[in-house]
């Protein structure tokens, strides 16, 4: 009896080991493909997001070079505070100027930036300041004037992450006759020293068309905070 049990146990061990090795080999060999996503991250700043693998990257170097070249006045100082930035677009021909221009892009465009805050900024920072990073949205809402463009706010909610907290606002506005939708997440690090910004935008028609994928990308934006 004991011999049979031992034999059975041996067989069991052999089977499990074989299964392990076989599954390992299968996984290893089947994994010889390309990743399903492009993962963009700054591990030092603890910022991560992913875009579909057919998106095109605009390198950080190009973005920095463009900004430095075109910065004037206080923008120069602000540029010096940038720690990391990254941009993706479905369009291969997208240039850094399109990233930083306010005009509505025809195709989806994602941009992430990590920047230190100056002392003045740090003193003045609030959720409204975070909402107003691209356009003065809070001003449009609170004190509309004749110059206030046509705009609509789809959603506005607080976001709390491990390393930071802020607001995610999805809004549309018309500029030069073209309506643009922006999914904007702006967060402040827990020690208030760093601002994390992620925007994904394109014309409102384009957004409506790609809403699912754009929401997915915006959802992937994760801030763990600097190490």
């Amino acid at each position: 009896m004991a011999l049979r049990r031992e034999f059975r146990e041996n067989l069991l061990v052999k089977k499990s080991l074989s299964l392990f090795v076989a599954s390992l080999l299968t996984i290893t060999l089947s994994a010889c493909g390309v990743q399903s996503q492009i993962y963009s991250s700054s591990k030092r700043e603890g910022v991560y997001y992913s875009v579909p693998k057919d998106w095109n990257t605009i390198s950080e170097a190009k973005l920095n070079a463009y900004e430095i070249k075109n910065a004037k006045g206080s923008a120069v100082d602000r540029q010096a505070l940038v720690k990391w930035q990254s941009a993706f677009s479905t369009d291969k021909k997208t240039t850094p100027s399109e990233i930083f221009a306010i005009g509505a892009p025809e195709k989806p465009l994602a941009f992430a930036r990590v920047r230190s805050l100056s002392i003045d900024e740090l003193n003045a920072v609030s959720y409204n300041v975070l909402r107003d990073v691209i356009v003065p949205l809070s001003e449009w809402v609170n004190s509309p004037t004749a110059d206030t463009p046509v705009y609509s706010i789809e959603s506005d909610q607080e976001v709390v992450e491990k390393g930071a907290r802020g607001v995610r606002t999805i809004f549309s506005f018309t500029h030069l006759g073209v309506s643009q939708t922006i999914d904007q997440t702006a967060m402040l690090s827990n020690d208030h020293s760093t601002m994390y910004l992620f925007i994904i935008r394109c014309t409102s028609a384009c957004y409506a068309k790609n809403k699912k994928i754009m929401t997915q990308i915006s959802n992937s934006f994760t801030v763990r905070g600097a190490k």
Binding site: I27, T28, G33, K43, Y49, S220
Partner: protein, 754 residues
């Protein structure tokens, strides 16, 4: 022939045509290892990026760490190769040929060169691996990372220092405690620290000569080493207490020009386990150092039995048959171990010790102390010194042989049987010397030595006589006796020791202080008659012993005593001697019955016990009775005594002849003989009883003088020849007898010699 009968060996590797089948684990172990590494990498990737999916992590690791896949492929190829070699003989054969060719090529290099080459390759491999790992850690090129690592190490030094301190603090505490505990018990004397010389040891010349020889070899080792011998490393001095073993060691310390290390008997008794081992190691480290510095060292373990032993069983089957260990087994007469075959002797020892349950172990300073000592005495000769062991080896040089440490180990004990068998083997203790009781010449010289230190009026003849009447005197007892004699002389207002002081001192030392109890007259007379019977019988029949003294002064455990001493150093005993001993013992019973009308006191109990014991031993052990077989063996093997007690054929006659009856027969015969002798010596007994009643304690010489009617040194025996005194003594005895019967005081007082 059945299959069971065919015995076949497992095939040798060279006899196989195919490769031996790998076990399942051997086939899969590398896959398992690689799999594990792969999983760890995937896991670390996932931990690194919170939004990464598992499948993307697997893909990422597969593409970025493709070397692991390469290793898997290599392992697959290897397994295929093994698989083919297990199935195809030609394939396996071809590889074997290739391997043997490679082996031949590699073995062109010497073993030493191959070892060094492999060491270099291993180091390089480790270096490469370390740099690759560091490169991954620092996100730098491996070479650059290799240079960054020492920098990081230096910056981490303060923290490492703190950690090391934390660790070493505890170790240092322990070390300090053990260091303090392992101090003490060892004293080192340097030449000229001790003034005792061999000339101060008297009466042990034969041992001293041997010791001198050992010291000579220690001081001039080349005398024996140039002839291919070695300096004896160990001496054991054993013998009864007080015979001068420690004094001899002290004189060795004084004589030798080498340091002398004295190890206290209590040095290895410790509170904690392991301290004893440390002590032994520390001691021998010290000894080696001293031996190197001074060219030799003597270490003396006093009372070496305190080192203990590991039990007689530890010595294995065959026992040693030297006098020290087996004297107790074979007796100290005709030593059985010397002429019996080894097997017979071993059987005897086994019987006595193992079956007798005397396999006592233990003692010593705790677990491992003795073993540590054994190892240090004759263990591996380890290379010494940091430079020798580490630096020379690092440079690829062979360490130098350890130097010759000339350490002479001397041990002293009065219980050699308590020492461990392994301790006494040649190589550890090479020579064993018995330091026995000094010979008569030695005793004379010892008396002369101690008397020379005091003022005395003893003649050479008196000193000789003193040596004769103190056969078992040792250096210590002689010194004590002379000192006691001096105290007696001073107490009596003299500065110089006289003969009577020495005799008195000897009596005091042997008998202890008397209790100063005054007997009532009739009891005093009875005790005196009792002792006189012993003394007269001894004087008449016992030639192998001389009377040392007779006393009727009450001691702590006796009423009176007749003490005897052997006049010569005699080592064998004879039947006639034992018979005379029994006669002396039985004289008291015979005498009391004779002089007190058949009455006798309980004071004879001790005498009867001695007589019976001797008679039993004669009958059952010493072959001095009517049978031959040894009662000791009969009893052990439960075979019964010859002629009685076993089986159906028991008859009254056989039982009558059982051992105890034969002993009783013998004693009855001897009692009758004792009576005859005492009847013939009635006058002498009463004379001596009178002398004892008068003087209380008498020396052997005076006892003989009274019996023989001559002048003794302190008592004159001549008046006892006179019939008038004899008559008075006889009357006094009659009066004492009446008093004894009626329990009253005798009518006549003890006669006084004018």
């Amino acid at each position: 022939m059945s299959e069971v009968d065919i015995v076949t060996s497992r095939k040798r590797d060279s006899d196989r045509r195919t490769r031996i089948h790998l076990s399942f684990f051997d086939r899969t172990k590398f896959f398992l290892l690689f799999g594990l590494v792969f999983l760890i990498l995937v896991w670390s990737n996932l931990a690194d990026n919170p939004i990464l999916s598992v499948s993307d992590s697997v893909k990422e690791v597969s593409s970025s760490k493709s070397w692991i896949l390469a290793l898997v492929v290599i392992e697959v190829l290897r397994q295929i190769h093994f698989g083919l070699a297990e199935i195809l003989a030609p394939y396996h054969g071809a590889w074997q040929k290739y391997f043997s060719f490679m082996d031949r090529q590699i073995h062109r290099l010497s073993d030493w060169s191959r070892f060094r080459l492999s060491r270099v390759i291993k180091w390089l491999l480790v270096l490469v691996l370390v740099s690759v790992v560091l490169g991954a850690v620092y996100k730098e090129t491996p070479i650059r990372a290799l240079f960054l690592a020492p920098k990081a190490f230096i910056s981490a030094l303060p923290m490492l220092g703190q950690l090391l301190f934390a660790v070493f603090f505890v170790i240092i505490q322990f070390g300090a405690i053990f260091w303090f505990l392992s101090r003490g018990g060892v004293d080192t004397y340097f030449p000229d620290d001790i003034r005792t010389r061999f000339t101060d040891v008297w009466g042990q010349d034969h041992v001293l000569n041997r010791i001198r020889e050992n010291l000579l070899f220690l001081e001039k080792p080349e005398e024996i080493e140039k002839h291919g011998g070695y300096v004896p490393g160990g001496l054991l001095l054993w013998g009864p207490p007080g015979t001068g073993k420690t004094l001899m060691a002290e004189s060795m310390a004084g004589e030798t020009g080498k340091p002398f290390v004295f190890v206290d008997p209590g040095a290895f008794t410790n509170m904690f386990m392991g301290v004893g081992v440390l002590k032994v190691k520390g001691l021998f480290r010290k000894l080696r150092k001293l031996a190197l510095r001074y060219g030799g060292v003597v270490v003396f373990f006093d009372e070496a039995d305190s080192l203990g032993n590991r039990g007689i069983i530890s010595s294995g089957g065959q026992q040693r048959f030297d006098a020290s260990s087996t004297a107790g087994i074979f007796g100290d007469a005709c030593h059985g171990g010397a002429y019996l075959s080894a097997a017979s002797a071993s059987a005897l020892v086994h019987e006595k010790f193992v079956m007798g349950g005397a396999a006592g172990a233990g003692g010593g300073g705790g677990t491992g102390t003795l073993q540590a000592l054994l190892t240090e005495l004759s263990g591996l000769k380890k290379p010494r010194g940091f430079f020798n062991r580490i630096v020379r080896r690092t440079l690829g040089m062979r360490p130098k042989n350890p130097p010759k440490y000339r350490i002479l180990v001397v041990m002293a004990t009065n219980m050699p049987e308590a020492l461990d068998e392994a301790l006494l083997r040649p190589g550890r203790i090479d020579r064993m010397y018995r330091v026995g009781y000094p010979s008569k010449a030695g005793r004379v010289r010892t008396y002369e030595g101690y008397l020379a230190k005091v003022s005395h009026s003893l003649t050479a003849d008196e000193i000789d006589k003193l040596a004769t009447i103190t056969p078992y005197a040792t250096g210590a007892t002689i010194k004590d006796t002379i000192n006691e004699a001096l105290i007696i002389a001073i107490r009596n207002g003299r500065q110089s020791i006289e003969w009577q002081d020495v005799v008195k001192a000897k009596q005091q030392k042997e008998l202890g202080p008397s209790e100063d109890v005054e007997y009532i007259e009739r009891e005093r007379h009875a005790v005196a008659v009792h002792e006189a019977c012993h003394a007269v019988m001894a004087h008449r029949v016992r030639q192998h012993m001389a009377i040392d003294l007779a006393t009727i002064e009450k001691g702590s455990d006796y009423l009176g005593m007749v003490a005897s001493i052997p006049p010569d150093d005699q080592f064998t005993r004879w039947r006639t001697e034992y018979e005379s001993d029994i006669l002396v013992s039985l004289a008291s019973l015979a005498g009391e019955r004779m002089f007190f009308d058949g009455d006798n006191s309980s004071g004879v109990s001790g005498d009867l016990e001695s007589a019976t014991t001797i008679a039993s031993l004669m009958e059952g052990h010493w072959g001095m009775g009517s049978t031959i077989s040894s009662h000791a063996s009969n009893r052990r093997f439960e075979v019964g005594a010859p002629g009685g007690g076993k089986g159906k054929d028991d008859t009254a006659k056989q039982i009558r002849h059982a051992l105890s009856d034969r002993i009783e027969d013998n004693l009855t015969g001897l009692l009758a003989k004792a009576q005859e002798i005492l009847i013939a010596n009635r006058k002498e007994v009463l004379s001596l009883a009178h002398a004892l009643e008068t003087h209380k304690t008498m020396s052997g010489e005076d006892v003989a003088a009274v019996i023989d009617g001559v002048k003794g040194s302190l008592v004159d025996g001549r008046p006892y020849l006179e019939s008038e005194l004899q008559l008075r003594i006889e009357k006094y005895h009659e009066a004492s007898l009446v008093a004894h019967r009626n329990h009253r005081t005798p009518d006549i007082a003890l006669p006084v010699i004018a």
